[in-house]
Symmetry: D2
Subunit: 194 residues, 4 copies
């Protein structure tokens, strides 16, 4: 339908987006006990990164599992999670009115989601990935970004892991084999035109 057409050439920001992966989470799964301490450490750098993106006008895109709840929308998932025992792990990085939202059903942020379309539509060619889990969804998403010729940046202190040794290997894989930039959250360049 013609009304559905959009300008694919439109640019927003300067080609970078910050992606927040699976942080809207009730931490009820079986690996939660191992994951939570790492999330706690990653939260402050992640929060600073999100704040900086908002200040600089870099799009912040939350890509989150819907936990099979195809009836719920993202506000309902957020509300549920904010009433869970682990609300303090979600509150600091909650979406604001400008945040974009993409729901995913499987591990990668790209698999059967509209994320690739959203990025290309807005002229975004570089993604900064934060959130969880380093050696799972973050690794898989970095691969799926790289395979699509997107540039990838992963701040090592703003991603959370279950197994430290696998997370270390995952970061090395991203750096070596997916040409990802791995650096501290505070060193991430968001605006290329800075």
């Amino acid at each position: 339908m013609n009304g559905q057409e959009r300008d694919v050439h439109g640019q927003e920001g300067d080609g970078t987006a910050l992606i927040v992966i699976d942080m809207i989470n009730a931490y009820e799964h079986r690996d939660a006990a191992e994951l939570i301490p790492s999330v706690r450490r990653a939260l402050p750098p992640m929060r600073r990164l999100i704040d900086r993106a908002r200040d600089e006008g870099t799009p912040v895109i939350y890509v989150n599992d819907n936990f099979g709840r195809w009836r719920s929308h993202h506000d309902e998932i957020l509300d549920t999670v904010l009433q869970s025992p682990h609300a303090e792990l979600v509150e600091p990085i909650r979406p604001d009115a400008e945040s974009l939202f993409v729901v995913k059903a499987r591990h990668s942020i790209f698999y059967q989601t509209p994320l690739e379309y959203l990025l290309f539509q807005r002229g975004i060619r570089r993604v900064v990935l934060c959130g969880q889990v380093t050696e799972q969804c973050v690794l898989y998403s970095a691969l799926d970004a790289h395979i699509r010729h997107l540039e990838v940046c992963v701040p090592w202190d703003a991603v959370a892991h279950i197994h430290e040794d696998l997370a270390d290997a995952a970061l090395r894989m991203m750096s070596r084999n997916m040409s990802a930039e791995v650096c501290g959250a505070d060193e991430v360049v968001l605006k290329s035109g800075g």
Copy 2:
């Protein structure tokens, strides 16, 4: 993440879903004047079909354009549309608490959406397509269902068109080349186990 795993073998209903395409609509696009009379005619059969699906426990899945509003969730889109001048075209077929929702960004209900995953996860192998536009999104979605080896049924009186001659050709294409069942809305079999 293990918490994200779901039983891919779980069945719901008996393998058929009713898909409602692009009916959450403000009718502000340039073809609206030609489309609206056809929507008005299609609404009563579509309503009866949705009611029957709800009664019989057949999943009803709304797949709808998000009109580029990546910040909004489906309730917000519905609220906006229900306050538009054409709310009476949306009210009769509005989602209920059991409805499933999938947001699409482009013409086909399958292109860069999680619909294929949702269907396979629930054991759904047959889709009944109603909504709009017959010779556009409905045709494209029928093709994308057929290419994925799903069975397709299109009730000719529960789909709305802009151009009648193209809609007629589209229905013949679906019937002849995509093995779709084309019948009246009241003849659509929803439960195979009836």
Copy 3:
């Protein structure tokens, strides 16, 4: 692997490719009798178009069904077809040493094929579609090109149909709803820099 990387920014020709759809064909299927006269009429304009593309350095990409023969490569399929009773429908438009080849398994030239990747890798943003069947694979491929924001041109006299009325409707759908340029084969502009 690094050896697998290719320059995604490399350009070839000037952004247009000529796609030849499903012409490597033994014409043994049940609609062959209706299709063959239309193929016969489309062959001379198609041949002129292919010759012109070769002269002007426009990439010619054959996208062809593999008929489920996952053991065969495209030369074997071509050899088989050239020994069939309908070799005269294939001979005039056979691939040459410069032709590119993509095998497809289903109706659309894009569904589960590397075509999208090949096009983007070479900076091709516009496709000219010729071959068969107008109201089937050509229509579906035009849609799948349009949904990916590629420009589409369809020379009406270089595509072959089974049903004339459906083919006419398909050409109008492509023109009206997919923004495709529909013109005669001899008017197709191949080099934008002409």
Copy 4:
């Protein structure tokens, strides 16, 4: 086209396929020196596994990079490689007349290839992955198989790596996070009906 339809319910073997990844290779890329000793060690178990699959009637599917050679078919790629200085790394595991072939353009065996379609068409729900590189294409392909709900088996002695530590981590990731069976090549069960 009706002639393109195939029986999607047809079964071959008993639901398992052996996938040979990127072994048709000239070993000219920059990591070849580190890779070759590992390939040499993996070749005998890989050869025994391929022989056993052929004996037992398990489909053997070669999925191989085309190195950007869209003009060449797989026999040409094989011929070229068999005349290279490293032909002895290819000769022992060369395809035979029954082998199936899928060309890939990027890292994963599933990305923009018809492999998923081929597997579902033949009722294959479990893949045994051998070849190279453990911490790259093998890892990515295991993920893309798992995300599609296929069962995955990886014989640790029939996959070759560049970096041993990353390969070890990759095998643990596949085992722990992708539910892959990791075992010796000689212990791999090919026929479930044994």
